[in-house]
Every structure is written in C-alpha cells, then in structure tokens.
Amino acid sequence: MLRLGEKGGRFIRVSRRTIFFFLLPAFVIIGVLYYMLLWTVVVSMTDWVGMNPTWKFAGFKNYKLLFSMPRFWVNMKNNIIWLVVFVVPTGVFGMILAYLLELFPSISRIVRPIYLYPLVVAPIVAGTLWAWFFDPQSGVLNSILDLVNLSNFKAGWIADPKLAVYCMIVAGIWQNLGFALVLYTAAIREIPREHIEAAKVDGANMRQIFFHIVVPEIGHATLIIFSLLVLYTLKVFDLVWIMTRGGPGYATEVLPYLMYRITFRQLLVGMGAAVAVVILMLSIVILIPLSKWMMARWIEE
C-alpha cells in the first residue's frame, strides 16, 4: 500500500512504512507523555501515600479534601493575583516597548538585547537576585531606603505575607518582559509598511498609529503571548521555591508549588496528583484554543 508524499507538481511515492519509520520516535514519546497524563489522573483518584505506589481507589476523596482546604484557596487566590499583576503588565508593557523600540531603531539595536538577558538567566538565579533585593534584614531595597532617608517606607517585603507575592511578581516581570518584547517585535514587523505609511500621510500621530493600526493588526500575537504568559503562571515554581518556599506560612504558594510540596515533602501522592489535575484542567482551557489556532495557521502554510 503506497501513500502519496507531499508534492510540488509531481507525485512522489513514500510508503506507509517509511512514514511510520520516521514518526516512530515521536509516537513513542508523545505516547509516553499522554500515558503519564492519564496516569496522573488515575493516581489523583487513589489514596497513595508515601514513597511506594501502594494504593486503593478512592474516588473523588482527594478533590473533596483539597477543595475544602483553606490552603488550596489561598493558592488559587495567588494564582489569580499572578494572572492579573503579572500577565497583564508583562503583555501590555512588552507591546508598548516593542512599538517604541521600532520607532527608534538606532537606540534599540543597543537596548533590545538587554531585555533578552533575563530570559537566559535561570529562574533560580533571578529568584536569588530578587530575594536579595527584597530581603528584610540585609536586602538592597531596605538599605537604599535608609540611605535616602525614607526609612518610613521600609517593609518586610518577601517576609511580609501581604507583599511577598508582589515581590515575586516583580522578579517574574523582570524575567519575562523580553519574551513578550521578542514576540511583539516580530509581530509588529509583519505589519505591511504601507498601512503605517498611509496613516502617516493622513496625519496620524504615534499614539493614533499605535491604537488604530498596530494594536488591531497584532491581535494574533496578543492572543498567543497572553496565552503563553497565563500558562507561565501555571508553572511558576522556581521563584517561589527560592524566594520564600511558599511562606510565610503558605501565603505565597501557587498551585505548581503546592503540587510539589504535597507530593514530595508531605508524600501525599494521590493528593499531589489531584493538584496536578487541577493545573492540567486550567492549562487545557488555554491550550485547546491555542493549539487549534496554531494548527490552523500550520495547515494554511
């Protein structure tokens, strides 16, 4: 049985066996990943506690328990704070910055790479840097405040349950602004130059061009960038681990951290899997439309 290879006018015969031969490694790895996904769902419905997998089916007990814990809802609340205070500024700021840098090409050649460096720095390193900045005792911020006679504004920062999440989000924005910038720059460069030139001829100023031409024409990029930033908030782990370990108490925990904590520290594996499934569900809400949209673009080409 022969199948047709992709053609450029002429048909090329590629056997089904050849196609399978090429796809086999991907099949194996994708298979393993989906099998793991299923496994996590199954484990979340067991009473598995401890290192070794000895479990009995427990139905939705883990979920019921999880949803009744105030700790879980603190986690959810923190995830929502990340969603608002991290995703929106990173995305909007990245968009504006990309536009401004495009307006001043000579400066941006020097300036743009600076925003990329945080991207290749490990989140653990970024967290160490910002943990020092926000440290209440020997931290940079408090000692600067002392130096400029603003001691009144000194605070506990990452030791303060109310402020700590926001300190972490500062680190997150610092690290990810470059990501939004790169993608928005690429998107802005795809806008046909005539559109912008035509607007200039009509006497539009920078701000009008931004709001009436740039923003609408990079809608697809906005969709992708915001989706990816939302997904980031569902995997942020390193910053929490290095800056506060979720503390004080569990004031700065987010779901990805809770999952690790419950599974590997408290060894409540079934429960940890339930948290993983919650993360999975929230991710899927973003990922299905995103992947469908990517697929549509992929087919088009």
């Binding site: 199948r3 047709l4 290879g5 992709e6 053609k7 450029g8 002429r10 090329i12 590629v14 050849t18 090429f22 796809l23 490694p25 991907a26 790895i29 994708i30 393993v32 990943l33 989906y34 793991m36 496994w39 996590t40 484990v43 401004l100 840098l101 001043f104 400066i107 300036v111 600076i114 945080p118 991207l119 290749v120 720095v121 490990a122 653990i124 390193v125 840097l129 910002w130 943990a131 020092w132 940079v140 000692s143 600067i144 002392d146 993608l183 998107a187 795809e190 992708i224 782990f237 390193d238 290095i242 999952m259 590997f264 940890g272 993983a276 999975l280 990922l287 995103l290 697929m295 080409e301």
Partner: protein
Amino acid sequence: MNILKNAVIIVIIVFLAIAWILPVYVMFTTSFKTLAEVSTGHYLSFPTRFQFENWKQAFNILKLPLKNSFIVSLCATFITVFIGSWSGYALARFKFKGRNGLFFMIAIVTFLPYQIFLIPLTRLIVSLGLFNTLSGMILSYVILNTPMATLITSLFFRTIPKELQEAAFLDGCGPVIFYFKILIPISVSGLMSAAVLSFVNIWNEFIIALSLSRDPTTRLAIPVVAGLKGSYVAQWNMLMAGAAIVSIPGILVLLFFGKFFIKGLIAGAMKE
C-alpha cells in the same frame, strides 16, 4: 514639541534598559566583593579590589555539578534535536492520515507544565533504576523537550522548497538519505534554533533536576546553586558568585547564538 516628546521617550527607554541590566551587573560586581564591602550598601559601586575568594569557593562546590549539567544538557539537547527533527521532517513533508491531529497533540504537550508529568515521570525513572543517575535526567529531558523540538524543526522544514525533495527523490535518493545528506545540512539554522532553546531550557531547569537526583555526585548545577541560599544565609557575595557561575553558559549562548535563540522563541510560539 515633537523633538521634546521623542527625547522624553528615548530617555525613558534608556533608563528602563539600565534598570533591566542592573540586577545582572550587581550580581557580577558583588560576587567579587568582600562581605564587609557588600554591607556598606554601595551596591552599584565597582569592587574596590577584585578578590576571587567567593568564586573559588563557589566553583569548588559547583565543579562536579557543572560537569553533570554540561553532560546532561548537551546529551539531552543532541538527542532531542535529532529525534525532534527526524519526526519533524515526516510531520512537515509527508502527507498521512491524522497528521493535523498529531500536530495538535504535540502542541498540547509542548506547553503543559512539568508538574503534570512529575509523579509518573519519577516513577518511570525509579522503576528503570535510573533515579540519581545522569541518564535518568537525560531521558526525562529528552521526553519533555522532544515535542517542542519536533514543532520547531517541522516549521523550519516547511520553509524549504518542496522541489528540492522532489528532485532528490527522482534522482533515486530515499527519504533517509535525503534527511541526512540534504535536509540536515541546509537546515542548520533551524536545528540550531531548536538546539539553543533546548540547551538553555535544560541548563536552567529546576524541578526535574531537583526531583530526580538526591545524590551529591549526580546533582545538577541549578539545584546546587539553589541550595547555597540555605547554607550561606545572607552571604550575598558568595551567593552571587554561585549565581554568576551558572549564568555564564546561558549568557555566552545568547552572546554567540542570540539570533538562533530569538528565532527559536518566535518559532516556538509558532509565528516564524
């Protein structure tokens, strides 16, 4: 008026950029200072005297973990890009039933948080007897990064003219020969993008590295640097030295392969 406005924007852009580079600058300068000098509070000042004590100390702790990290990151990157491009070629250039569905399934797992795979992955590694081994971590990173590599390389392969494959096939060259002899050499840029992105991801990765090895001889650099914060409490110069050391590979990669890194990021978000 317009000139003034432009000047204001330029000043803001430049100041913001300076603010963005400061943490990295402070990390490097502080790593050469004595603790006494750090506590004077002149964070932006250059070290009065470069002393390499912190670097020596941090490097001693990190020597073996750095070697492990290099082995794991390089091996995993190589295997990931090879497997990813192998299947990526079929995805980009062969027509078969369920191709779009396969693409969709790959896209989904590419972006899922690692936490979702963490329990079964740990079980898999333990049951293969690979817990606390570098091969266990290489295997894990290959599994987790191949979907991304497949997507990125398949995107790059799609930009190669179809006529090239057609001509090669008409000359009697099979797909395997075509892949090795023609596709790989002309796709260096695409493969490099996937490789650079995978390398940086794996080098900087934390949760898998933290979970799959507890043995000091097989620990990777990032978890060891993370551990320093607990054992050198408030010795910021020492912590900055450790942080600086593990940041160097990523910074060098960006310096020399920045173009590929950016291309990879853009392709990874599927925009080419």
